[in-house]
Structures are given as structure tokens and as C-alpha cells.
């Protein structure tokens, strides 16, 4: 358990760091996919099988692929960036991120929530489905609308103008 967590955590952090630090954008996205898979593995470790599989399906199967497509469409895939990698105020950004991590870490360690896990709950797909259809039916509907709207919006934004003939 501990060993599995350590391995997965290292994988996630390595993947995430590489995803934001590498020069080649395709490598970035592939490392991001590694991080996603790691997070999904953590979900499985936490006993949330359905969420873990959904994470793989959505993040690896959809988000990473979308990013790959965006890379190809914006010609970032075959033209490795030659200019400076980071923006002008990169030092500020990294400092802020480090600061945030420091604050969070202090907060977490000070809060004393580090209790051990209770026995693992039995989480079946049927339970999730029933919960979705009972207590969360309104959010589900709203989410459906949101997804539809965002899909239409994405299509409209990315659509090219009809070619002038």
C-alpha cells in the first residue's frame, strides 16, 4: 500500500513536472497523460474504481487527445519552440507556486487531519447510478446542458469561415 502510493506519487510528480517543463510540446502532453494515469491509479487505490476508470477515459482518451490535436492544428508539433521557453515573469510565477505549496503544506500538517483510513467502503456502479438519479439529478441535468453548450461553443469557436469561392 505504502509502496504502491510512493511509486504512483513519484510517477505523478515526475509526469506533472515534465509536462510543464519540457521544451517539446508533444512530450509535454505525453507526460501529462502519464500523470493522468497515475492519478487514476491513485483513485483505484482509494477504492473509487468507477471514478478512476472515468478519469482514464476522459483525461487520457479525450483531453490528452484533444491537446494532441490542438498541437497538430497549431503546428506546435513539428516546430519545436526555438524562442525562450518561459514568459518574462517566470520567476514570479514559480515563486508564487512555491509559496502556495508552502502555505498548503503548513496548513495540512498543522491541521491534524492525518487519521488512518476507515475500512474500505463498498462502492458499486449501481450505487453511483442510484445516487446520481436521486440526490444529484439536478446537477446531472445541468451538467448535461453545460456539456452540450460547451460542445457547441467549441465547434463554433474553432470553426473556420466558409471558404470564399
Amino acid at each position: 500500500m505504502q509502496l504502491a502510493f510512493t511509486i504512483i506519487a513519484l510517477l505523478i510528480l515526475a509526469g506533472a513536472t515534465a509536462a510543464v517543463a519540457l521544451r517539446n510540446l508533444v512530450h509535454c502532453v505525453l507526460c501529462l497523460a502519464v500523470a493522468f494515469v497515475g492519478v487514476a491509479a491513485l483513485f483505484l487505490l482509494l477504492g473509487a474504481e468507477f471514478v478512476g476508470l472515468a478519469q482514464i477515459m476522459v483525461y487520457v482518451g479525450a483531453v490528452a487527445i484533444l491537446m494532441v490535436f490542438a498541437l497538430l492544428l497549431t503546428r506546435n508539433a513539428d516546430l519545436p519552440a526555438t524562442g525562450p521557453l518561459v514568459s518574462k515573469s517566470w520567476l514570479t510565477g514559480v515563486s508564487i507556486a512555491a509559496l502556495v505549496f508552502g502555505c498548503l503544506a503548513i496548513g495540512i500538517l498543522a491541521s491534524g487531519v492525518g487519521q488512518a483510513a476507515p475500512p474500505s467502503p463498498q462502492l458499486s456502479v449501481r450505487q453511483i447510478g442510484e445516487e446520481l438519479m436521486r440526490n444529484y439529478v439536478l446537477p446531472l441535468e445541468v451538467l448535461g446542458v453545460l456539456l452540450t453548450v460547451s460542445m457547441i461553443g467549441a465547434v463554433v469557436i474553432a470553426m473556420t469561415d466558409p471558404k470564399p469561392d
Binding site: M1, V26, E49, L53, I65
Partner: protein, 400 residues
Amino acid sequence: MTPWSTLLALAGDATGSWLAQLKNLATHPWVVNLVAMAVILGANAAFFAVITLLERKGLGRIQNRPGPNRAGPFGILQPAADGIKMITKEDIVPERADQLVHFLAPLVMLAPITLALAVLPYGPQLVAVNLDAGVLFFFAIGTAGELAAFMAGWSSRNKYSLLGAMRAIAQMISFELPLVLSTLVVIMMTGSMSLVEIVAGQGSAAWGLPGWNIFTPWGLAGFLIFLTAAAAESNRSPFDLPEGESEIIGGFMTEYSGFKYAVFFMAEYFGMFAVSGLGITLFLGGWHAPFPFLEWVPGIFWYVAKLVALVFGFIWIRGTLPRLRADQLMNFSWKFLMPLALLNFATAILWHATAGWQFPGAWLCRWLVCFGIVAGAFTGLGRAMLRRRQVGPRIYRYAS
């Protein structure tokens, strides 16, 4: 602590009793896991060898040729010859290729598909991992293929590879929707995402017909949609555009040779086995025998028989049909299969709602009504699609 940490539980039935004994001997779960992995991998690899030979023989016969018949009697050693050839061939990596990604792509393609093979129930109790969300696992794993196709196509630094990868990704994404929608009908009617329970739900025979889902109108339509989408998902003809050799040479596999190519090839066939296995599980009653009096034959036999039949269907189609064009493929998926799959949902609901009909001939009546809806939609959508593109038979005139 969860079903996940104890990955596999292979209990033996009539065919696998030695596995059960082994489990008693080796109490450590890792040993059992390793054995299960080895059995699944080995059996599928052997099946892969047999199927490649069968495919070449079948295609040959369709084309009035004998097929491979030089290596061994009737050419049965041909897969071995192919394997030796593949392994001993030079492994060529393009000079400007992204070496690491180029190396990883075949593995990323193959590994998830072998995982997907682990959740299929091959017989009563003969399932490596009985997942509560087995179907979801199947589709989640399948997404890795898209990434692998991209990795292969992009890292080769070849324009044909890139075109092939773009085609492969677009095709896999588009056909995942009808594939998932057609399986959702089964999940809805069975009330479970567990593949074992779905098979168990198809055991009871009625009216002399087995209780397989394919014998219901929604099951029949779902099966056909599933089969079409599955052919596209596993890049089989007539949807083999990603590697359409007459257009883009080899697609994302253009720059692969030797063993890496063999791994891609193997992944493609494993994908076909996996998706056919899913189809068998969902629609064709899994390992169930067609008739109750044949139940004494081990389930694995029926499973393999159905798998061979499905694969042979794929080969038959491959020997007959030319391939579609990329935009036609998209149209076919989004404008034909998707609406049809959605309508199939409605049909399933109607089937469910009319389950209470009691008058004589009610079953037949339900069947015909539901089938009529699906068939009508099929005809209408197909006609509309062909007519919009002004595609149809033509009559020719002669000069006077």
C-alpha cells in the same frame, strides 16, 4: 484490501480444475496472477498465430488461390516462418525520429489491449478479473490505442505517418460513440456493467431460442452497430483507412519494421479479439451453448467457436469490400450509426415497456414492432445519406 489488490481469482471449473489445484498449492496471490497472465497471453498469442494463417488462407480462397501452403503441411508453419522473419528483420528507425517515443508506441498500443483481454469471461468462472465496471474498464483501456497511434505517427517524422495517425485518432474517437451507445443498451437492459453478470443474464432459453441478446430486436440492431463500430475501432476493412496502403502507404506504421511492426500487428489482432470477445459477451451469450442440451460442452469451447466465427466474418468482409473515404467514414459514424444507436435505445425502452403484454402472440408482436422501428430507421437513414450525396445506380445510354 480491495478487489484490486487481489487482482485475479482463477477458480477452476471442468476445464480449469488444475488451475484450482494450483491455487491451493500456491497460496500466494502473485503466483496465481502470474499464471493467469501467462495463460491469457499465451492462449491469445497462439490464437493470433492461428488466425493470421486462417486469414491468409481465407482471403486466398476468396480470391481463388490456395493461400500459404509452403511452410509445413498445408502451410501450418507459416506463422512461425512469419515470426522468425519479423524478429530477424532489421529494425529501422528513421534518423530524425523521436527515438524514445518511436520505441514506446508499439508497447503503448499492445499493453492496454492485453489488459482488456483480462476482464472477459471465457467460461463459467473462467474470468481473470471480475470487475464491477467491466465494460467501462474495457473502454477506458481502449483509449490508449489513440495515444499510441499518435505517438507512432508523430514520432516517425513522416508525413504519411502523421496523416495516418490523424485519421486513426479521428476514426477511433468517432466510432467510440456508437460503440459505447450500442453497449449501453445491453447494460441498461441487464442492469449491470459487470461482464460476468451480463453473460449470466443471457443463460435462459425461451421459445426454443437461446436467451442471447441478439435474438431481441434491440440486440440485433445493437449487435450490427457494435460490429460495424468494432471493425472501425480495430482498423479492420472496410474501415482500414489509418493504414490504407493504397493511399497513405502504411499510415502510422509506415516507418516501423521488424519486431516493432510485429507488435503493432499483434496489437491490432488482439484488439480484434478483445472487441469480438466483448461483442460475444454482450450479444452472443458469452460462453453459453446455443441450446440447453449442449451445455455439457465446456464454455470455453463455445466462446472460441463464436470468436472464430466473428473473426471469420471480419475476414470475409475484408476480402469483399473496398474502403471508405475519411469524410465518408465520419459521416457514416455521426449521421448514420449515432442516430441509429440512439434510436435503438428507444426501441429497447419500448421492448422493456411492452414486457407486460399478455395476449397470445404478444412476443412476436413486440418483436415485429420493435424490429420495424429499427429497420425503418436503418432504411430511412441509409437512403437519406445516399441520396444527399446523389449516390445511386445509374443507367447508361448508347450512341445512336
